[in-house]
Amino acid sequence: MNRRFRIGPSLVTLAAILYFFVPLYAAFQFSLQMKRGELSLAAYGSVFQDGVFINALTFSILASAAAILFGALLVVPTAYWVRLRLPKLRPVVEFISLLPLIIPSVVLVFGQIRMFGSSSILPLTTSDWGTNLLLVIGYVVLSLPYMFRAVDNGMAAIDIATLTEAAESLGASRARIVFTIIFPNIRAAVVSGAFLTFSICLGEFAIASLLNRSAFGPYMVQLGQDRAYEPAALAIMSFALTWVLMGLMQAFANMKPGQGLFRLPFQKKSPRP
């Protein structure tokens, strides 16, 4: 392929860069204009001073963290067992894990509200903790496709059959194998899936809103209706956060099995004596 300058591709690239850049710049500039006639960070300050913001954000962080924990506990043993003992079940498990990509979250939560509503066998939506639980469950389901793929890729990179045999011959129980042998070896993959889950769940709107949870997504929509400058500040902050989360996800996804968690991927391992 020749590397001479070509006008068409350059124009296309430039247009794309402009299209990507302008909304971010516009939001940033808008977010600085809260005080008339001067540029200030007042909009950011106003966001952080709002007690509702802190509560909503804390709630969503907790819900996302719970979903990550729950999701990992569900997916890791499953992916392990399917790879090791039940390869025949693999298409089924994989297909189920992809279903949330086909079923929109608004449909999912609709089904759950009807299924676990006040007149059902398991009336989760009648109590506060039950509804919170349902929200976390919804997030676990939403993140299944990403979590399963991340964990499964992680398992493909290590030799689980040999590790399991070695552990079994030393007398380790099944739970012990999963938690002390397999899990540490794929933790980079799990963490990578966790960051993606986090970025999906933190600002999630449909499920949180329909379950009447005062989470971050519904808070943002409300803020957008009430205020002018704060939403722009939020847009900038969440773009930055998405960037950080995606970067961390990439970094962890590219890690080798067993590599230290807080070692950056570009650092060389120190030579062992």
């Binding site: 350059s10 690239t13 794309a16 979250s105 939560v109 609709f110 600002g203 709107f205 900038i236 995606m246």
Partner: protein, 271 residues
Amino acid sequence: MPYLSFTFIFLIAPVSYLVIGAFQSPDGRFTFDNMAGLANPQIAASYWLSIRLSFASALIGTVTGLLLAHALILGGMPVWIRRALTTFSGVASNFAGVPLAFAFIATLGRLGLVTVTMKDLLGINIYGMGFSLFSFWGLAITYLYFQMPLMLLVITPAIEGLKKEWREAAESLGASDSQYWRLVGAPVLAPSVLGCFLLLFANAFGTLATVIALTGSNFSVVPILLFQQIRGNVLYNPNLGYALALGMILIMSVSNFLYLFLRQRAERWQK
């Protein structure tokens, strides 16, 4: 197995509940009335709006994403630009929802940067010309912010799979640039491009948060109508709501399965 029971209880059963409900009358008997009810003007209009919007946004996303991918991979752009835009696309394709809407309000809203700049510098009042961010084309432009990056990411392997030898072979036989694209490039890429278009279509069809943050609930695409139905039974018939949900699942499944099918076909060339 915990995984199977969990997904059965919290994913498959609730969805099946809706699917079964879609074929039941309020007193529990089997009926096709609900599915036929989807033809009522309000619901049909909502589906038609969703389909048009998803189609338009997927089409623009496919074309622009394809152009960008072509420019970056085959157009001789420096590697760092390509890498930067690919990384950015990974972020932008996940930057949907409420914050995206906010960024576009600051850009193309009534007081948005682009709106104001066009008015002040060029004397063009885009709102005076009938444009509104909170309408069909405004939404389509906003969706493009996650559609184009997604297209770039999913089509890149296919474009990279166009082998240099094919082009050389075509050129040595005397083919022009357009002949190469028409007779070799396009037929090889076609299944991938069509597949990606369907993926983008489904992606747009399921979008809810961006629409709500931009338009409140005034713009009644199917997810919004369903959202309102769950909130307040606006259709005055719960079972009609189930049918609405089933219709959404069907459209999403068809486009996703066709996408997977076309991707498999396309992979023949990538061995």
